[in-house]
Amino acid sequence: MRLVMKDSFVAMGVAILLFFIVIATFATVLAPYGPYEVMMTEAGRLDRLARPSFEHPLGTTAYGNDVLSQFIHGSRVALIVGLVAAVAVGFVSTVFGVVAGYFGGLVDDVLMRITDVALSIPTLPFAIVAVSLLGPSVQNIILVISILFWRNGARIIRSAVLTERERIYVKWARAAGASHFHVILHHILPNIVRVIFLWITMSVAFAILAEASLSFLGLGDPTVISWGQMLNTAFSSGSLRTAWWWVVPPCIALTLLVSSLYLIGRGFEEQTNPRLRRY
């Protein structure tokens, strides 16, 4: 909390993030129409590619859907995928990193070789192939993102554990007869909690970017609307260059949301790395 007060970048990031959380929570109330509701003109024709107006503040799509409603509903997928995947990624990275770093030796070697293999997997191509094989659904996208991003975090958390492990109180705790589990829970984890939080924050951003990219490539969940998918539809219907009211909102929202997480992450980073602090 002190961090938020002190650093205006972090404050801005938190504000943007909260804004989107509010939109996503009250999406059904805020959105004037259903995301796939088809709009008709008074003449009974499909109201396609209408410019922004009083009834449709952000105009309509090539298929007669209200852009504003799709935009508001789209925030849900981004946040759900981002948060769920990040928690999963954070959990797996922490378990891997702590076990490898704390026990060292053979355990460390084996786990780090597994991490090396995982790090050689091309991120987006793997996601494309895996999602298309598993079938495009929100659950599968979350699963694939979790499989992909634990690896970087495991490394970061492991190196944090390596320094904590050598602390004198860890040795004393062990000498006093504390179990490995007790030492990890009470002496290691509390000291690396910042690193873990930083990693989870970044993972939210990566997950949102990954979901958006997949949806943009046409591999999103076809049953729920997302920002990436809005752009995909605009792109494939050939309206990308004309219907600015349809294209600009999801672009700006994605940028703002991901940037807000980076802004928060940076605040953590400046705090955790003492060499970057002001003198």
Binding site: R113, V117, L119, C251, T255, V258, S259
Partner: protein, 321 residues
């Protein structure tokens, strides 16, 4: 040193083998029938079996695996279902197209980014330059690759009409190697290349800036300064020391560019490996998908290997074990 290089090489081969096996399993264990696309209605049983055998889809999973690895080692990647010709013939030219965008784009981003990073790093702490620089870099870093592409298209292609919107050359352009040397090609290359550069610029800037900030209070900077050296020379000294993390970052970044360039290639309809991968996936052309993926994985392994070896050369503090 020699032992270290050999061990790293061996490790890299192991990693490639592991990634390939994961890929193999993913494709065979999946519920969808990979042959569905190949099979015509009313095909006789015998013709079907013949086809399956041609594609190496007969026998137990283990037999298929052995055959698959054997083919890979011989450099035989099979035939594309869709193009009906060897995978290499399809992917070969596309690799060149991808590298044309990825390498200059990444380098441009790295040069501009690190230059600006030095400026921001030396700016007074907590001052305007530092705050604005960091703020902009963080925001731009959050822009998804395809959004950069769409924005460039909207401004420079639709609104201003300076650059073409898609493809790699006009319809009447040559198809041979000479096409890469024409103005028409460069004209088409400009926007995708700039998109990649913008995508990588902020990360470079932030890395360089952190390096400079960490270095600027070191004793050697004080010493150089005490010798009465000009500010730009001092900045150069710290920049050189801050380059280390940047260079280790650059090689995996190249691999990631080649992998992540997919969206840029799609936005600009640039005929590269990434775009072909997406097309192959939607066409369920799995020999092509597998090979494109394998190719990208090998590139990443090689890039990481190069990064490790170069890092040792540049930083005398690194001891090879």
């Amino acid at each position: 040193m020699r032992g270290y290089v050999l061990r790293r090489l061996f490790q890299s081969v192991l990693v490639v083998w592991a990634v390939t096996s994961i890929m193999f399993l993913m494709f065979r264990v999946m519920p969808t029938d990979p042959t569905a696309m190949l099979m015509d209605r009313g095909m006789t049983e015998a013709a079907r079996d013949k086809l399956l055998e041609d594609w190496g889809l007969t026998g137990s999973l283990w037999d298929q695996y052995v055959a698959y690895i054997g083919n890979l080692m011989r450099g035989d990647f099979g035939n594309s279902f869709f193009h009906r010709k060897p995978v290499w013939e399809v992917l070969g030219p596309l690799i060149v197209n991808t590298l044309w965008v990825a390498v200059p784009g990444l380098l441009l981003g790295a040069v501009l980014g690190s230059g600006l990073g030095v400026l921001v790093g030396w700016a007074p702490r907590g001052g305007k330059t530092e705050r604005i620089g960091i703020f902009l870099a963080t925001i731009i870093r959050g822009v998804p690759g395809f959004v950069i592409g769409i924005a460039l298209l909207a401004v420079f292609s639709s609104a201003l009409g300076w650059f073409p919107a898609f493809g790699m050359g006009s319809v009447d352009a040559d198809q041979g190697a000479s096409r890469y040397l024409t103005l028409d090609f460069l004209h088409h290359l400009a926007l995708p290349l700039i998109a990649v550069a913008i995508y990588f610029l902020p990360e470079n800037l932030l890395l360089m800036r952190s390096g400079v900030v960490e270095n600027r209070t070191e004793d050697y900077v004080e010493l150089v300064r005490a010798k009465g050296v000009s500010q730009s020379r001092v900045a150069w000294h710290t920049a050189r020391n801050s380059l280390l993390p940047l260079i280790t970052w650059l090689f995996p970044a190249l691999a990631e560019t080649i992998a992540g360039i997919v969206v840029v290639e799609i936005v600009f309809s640039w005929p590269g490996v990434g775009r072909e991968l997406v097309l192959a996936v939607t066409r369920q052309d799995y020999p092509l998908t597998q090979s494109a993926f394998f190719l990208l994985a090998v590139m990443i392994v090689l890039a990481n290997l190069a990064a490790d070896l170069i890092y040792g050369k540049l930083d005398p503090r690194v001891v090879y074990k």
